[in-house]
Symmetry: D2
Subunit: 429 residues, 4 copies
């Protein structure tokens, strides 16, 4: 039994924190019309009654709206962070203050406490896990295999998490069904492109006070996150350079009008480097050696392994905080390479950072909420095998319709004639 | 046995036509580095030796480069058009003049001759069919079922064709394997978006002499073609309005910054209407009644059923050619609605139109060529069941690599460490 | 006395030409709401009664609408072309058929006839000249100085013309007042940016069947025309490279996100080169020597002196028409450099070209028409000194208001309080 | 004699503040290559030796680099803020610690202290004034006319300041020469467009955690600032709506593809409103009454008079801080209108705000520095009359060249032949 303390036991000025957390949540709630609709439905119909949900997510105001919706649906919820630097203690405290919710998330904890908090949520003996980065699934499979039998299923929020889950499933090691929430159109098309793109750039701008216009911005990786960063940087008049390992993506970037080149060449000309690959060792020693004085290095991928800071530290003759959240590594030849937010997810870990915009999380969490509902409805009936599952398309579509209605955006529907036409194959030229 | 005459028997000044057709093909060849590489490979290795290929495609210079590559690979080829207005007679004649190629394509034929020409190609008793709109597959299944046994497989070029093939397969009616070339990344990401987008707008501009800046351009449908048209119109400073029936696509357009509304509302404010849905009855009587004087109506979808011209004709009190390729329908209240290219595929059927740009067809036809090769290599060994098949990803990737090499675009490759990392699931936060 | 024949005396099938010319003019008229309003006003009020106007302009449908409006206002008009390749003979014939209008413009005339036609219009003994490139002003000052006394003033349409007029005025050589219509906001902000930009690219695309996506498009000069070409090319997903001689403009292009480099470097990497400088010798021998096989060379500046074709011809070992309007120059090493429209103004001289879009010319010609009216109202009273004059701002504003009304675009107006505030200087922080 | 205390006398932890201020300045200095070159030149040549400069500017790190350059050039400098909320006390302290610099700027002072600090700088009996908003010029003309005789001249940084100066000059009230630094190409083209655009949006995003994608963003005013905000918002996939009072600007926005409408209509549909007009009463009672729940209201114009907060307060039934820097005004019908940064300049006064990006201020302050040098060189010789003067073009060009050199951007130069051609007027078609 974990003895890791809930957040309320860790804070000094708890009442103030709870109040501030609530204010942050109210702002989020005001701009999350999908979750508002979902929460009302959950409150009325109690689809999660009697369930126990463990969550490892970025604990800040938007996530809190998902957590409270799940609790409103009848579940008992235990939540912790999925990144030591992304937790807002006040929101954590406000959540912990809600009935049926326990929060263990605290900002800045060390590795030991980070995993202790994860174990604390597992102590709930969850029937559902909700992950952003697969930490819960990994911990349960490694250390608490005895709990797997009672777990109905899980949801995974992020590209990297889904990637790892698939690798695990390929190894035959994943023993309960997990929804790849990350892979739904509603998540991928908006969260990764608009969310990561806008928030990473705004965090960088407000952390450094630098401009995008005319800058050579090197975007490593041209998946959905990379596309978002490239698109938004280009929209701020940066000259975007893309590095890729997949030829179709490289060609796609080239045809968009971006420069495409290997990182070894990009290192010579880039002013700002933003990694989005989900892979490791994207910017390494040979690149640091070629970079110009004053460059910015930032990461918008899930883990802090894309920029090889150990190698950079070895190269550096000096190292100092150039600005809050910016560490300058000074080379022997006087060049200064500025690493933002220690190479962690810049839109969450930079001093000026708020994670994804409220509206994109509204969409993404809307899918999470109905995916949890779906798991309970179907998976209890054993309809989902262990493994990674796509969220059923009609659920994703349901969330899109709620969003369009909230935005007062009207759209057409097929007539019967059109539906027939689309289903037929005998009409000619 | 068809007695439909090949193009050389239909033209008066044949020699001039052949010469002009060859000049057009040489220009295309100069800008189709992928096909150049494929043709060289086919000539050397004769992967299609002894095969008979029937093709119903837009017969103009770029397609001709595909046709000659297939013949260079050892096949006997019979080709006709897939749209009565898209054929270039001179290119048709130049093809017909090549060894092992017979062309029946002639511009402006009526329905009877159109289908007679298709039958003429079927007379070859093909082992492979290559379609752009499924006309060959449909004709063979309906009228020549006895040929199906000897057909190895087919390739389908276009969205609409694949859509109809899938409907046919769902009915259990498709009796040989067909590659959905249209669905490959190399086709979808470039042909539909860049090709349809750029060429439709340039054709419209050069047919009408009108400007895009500040125009309300209504794009019906937000699939790949619609996205292309919207993106390129926006890039010419149009104010883009999107109509859709699918909520995720509607939302995607909305989040891109476009206006999204039902056609019934768009009809009030649009200056230019471009349909891209692949469906019928997109612009109908109720819309015509609301449109402003002087609007342009054009179609970028495969078939000419998206704009209901019969209804428009019924409403009109007068009708005259306002400009080459532009038919003005005058309403009782004096409003003139200008239909471009009779509502047929505007980038092929407008008086100033050249189909897709050379470079995008180079990619698309590169996939076609290796897909035909694949069918023969594998399908003879019965590896492909009857039905619609995705083109194997490594073939698509092969074409991307050829293209990037031709453009001198270099890109990164994974290190072993990175490959291992991407395949592992045990690294934590 | 000139004996140069009017167009009606030069054409064989005159009636057909006139009819076709009228149809073209009707299409233009349908999309020129500003000129429609101006013409109605001129017809009613006859502000040009008794005047004689000589015009050297691109004689095609849109210009024809200006010509007929001036005639409708009471003037006698003689018109000829300002570029041997831009005249539409049918429009010229239709104009010549109108009362009080004589047209001498004919497509493809040689230098001798070109200037003879200009002299023919001067034979009218004009009170007003309307130029696009300063040919009339130059010819009158050089060869007909005796006419200057009776000339009230002139209008100049183009950047290059105004530039030359200012040089002439600086030399003290300009002896009557000329309005720099080119320099008005209504001309510069729309004609050069949107008009030149859109039409040059559409002409190039429809002349070559090539795509913009992923192309390195080198734009020489970053004035209004260059900005337009760069902006629209970028909007078609080209990778834009700018060359400039003025540091602020170079910096502006750089801050927009474009690559900026000297032509000597751009020559290595460009796929398409478009000159817009108004200067000569922009692309010369040293550049030809470095270019890749298959590049396109085109000019969007007024004169055909930006690309040094003589030098290119000297370098070439062969030269052939690769495509209508495209001359391939083959180098000794096999590289082919493709020159579009003989280096003349591409949006007017290419085989597929229509000049500026109708709507932009509507704005520009609206200013021309009211500038002519202004000259007569004020200059007869000697209010304008010899020299280059800005069109009075209220005239330019008048045209903008007519256009916005025609487009149903409503805008705000200042309250009295706001007007006072803008005129005051004593409010603090 | 003013007794207003310098900042060092007002702070408790002075040493820490000075250190932090210096760190901020070092970061700015690292990204201000123009100022670095200017400062080195000033140090070497002492062009300002013996002068006294009073400055009322936004006192933060970037401005500090200008202040220290002026001091390095030999001047004694007294500086204060030009906006009570834009001062960084630590930077103020670090400046005050420099030889020959006195700083009176303190964040959050009330009106009385604000003007007392301005008077304190005037106590220096300046020979040069440097303003951002004309406060110094106004105060000197109103209250210290006796100083005017010894003042050589001034510089004004901002649109609004220049506007007021011109009004003052029109009244014959401006008694010394002032450079309209704001009106230089180097300021206008970059500071207003890129600087205001990028920083306003990033501040708003990081203050509210909201997204731009798909938002209706109403930009009031389409001058340089409005263009920047519109361009950058559009580049983040907002749907931009522009309101204007000038028809050419309204048309320019319309032709860019933006929606243009009166504020009374925009009020119905806007999600975010950003004023940039420099005028007052842009958003008033009739607009508040029509707005949707949850809208954001922000100002990017110089003064806080664009949004009528008094009227909003009268309408509201409740008012609370929804988020740091966001005041929610609750209407009787439950709608909440969220005002950001009290309607003050959002990129300076929002809780997350840093003013303009470093690089744009580098350009703008480069011009300031050489303009001050110019005033001393020429104006002592009485070359500049009292009134508003344009900065000489060669100074502006000088700064552009320094910047391009710093960015390693090379550009072309005119050949003699080209220079002759541009100066001639006798070349024909």
């Amino acid at each position: 039994m974990s003895t890791y303390p809930r957040i309320s036991a860790q804070l000094d000025e708890l009442e103030t924190a709870v109040e501030e957390g609530r204010r942050k949540m109210e702002w989020a709630r005001q701009h999350m019309p999908i979750m508002e609709a979902v929460r009302e439905d959950f409150e009325d119909n109690q689809p999660l009654a009697g369930e126990r949900i463990a969550m490892a997510m970025h604990v800040e105001a938007k996530t809190a709206i998902l957590v409270e919706a799940l609790a409103a649906g009848g579940a008992e919820v235990a939540v912790t962070g999925c990144n030591p630097l992304s937790t807002h203690d006040d929101v954590s405290a406000a959540l912990d203050d809600v009935d049926n919710i326990t929060s263990y998330a605290k900002r800045g904890v060390d590795d030991e406490d980070y995993y202790a908090a994860i174990e604390a949520t597992i102590d709930l003996e969850p029937t559902i896990t909700v992950d952003d980065g697969m930490d819960l699934v990994a911990a349960i499979h490694e250390d608490y295999p005895e709990l797997i039998d009672t777990i109905v299923g899980g949801c995974e929020e992020t590209t990297t998490g889904v990637h790892r889950l698939r690798a695990m499933a390929d190894d035959g090691a994943l023993e309960y069904p997990v929804f790849a929430v990350n892979d739904t159109p509603m998540k991928r098309l908006f969260d990764n492109v608009h969310g990561t793109g806008e928030s990473s750039l705004a965090s960088l701008a407000m952390t450094t006070n630098l401009s995008w216009a005319g800058k050579n911005v090197v975007v490593a990786g041209y998946g959905y996150c990379g596309k978002g960063v490239a698109k938004k940087a280009s929209g701020q008049n940066a000259n975007v350079i893309v590095t890729e390992v997949e030829p179709r993506r490289a060609l796609e970037a080239h045809m968009e009008g971006y420069d495409v080149m290997p990182m070894a060449e990009a290192a010579d000309v880039g002013d700002v480097f933003i990694t989005t690959t989900g892979n490791r060792d994207i910017i390494v020693e040979e690149h640091f050696e070629r970079m110009q004085d004053g460059v910015l290095l930032a990461n918008a991928g899930h883990f802090d392994v894309e920029i090889d800071l150990d190698a950079l530290d070895d190269l550096a003759v000096d190292r100092y905080e150039a600005r809050d959240g910016v560490e300058a590594y000074e080379m022997a030849d006087g060049r200064r390479l500025n690493v933002v937010a220690e190479g962690r997810l810049v839109n969450l870990a930079a001093p000026v950072s708020l994670g994804h915009p409220v509206e994109v999380m509204d969409q993404s969490f809307g899918v999470q909420a109905v995916a949890v509902r779906e798991l309970l409805e179907r998976a209890h009936a054993d309809e989902y095998e262990p493994g990674v599952h796509d969220v059923p398309d009609e659920l994703d579509r349901e969330i899109a319709e709620i969003k369009l209605a909230a935005e007062d955006v009207d759209f057409d529907s097929l007539t019967d004639t059109q539906r027939d036409y689309m289903g037929s194959w005998d009409h000619g030229t």
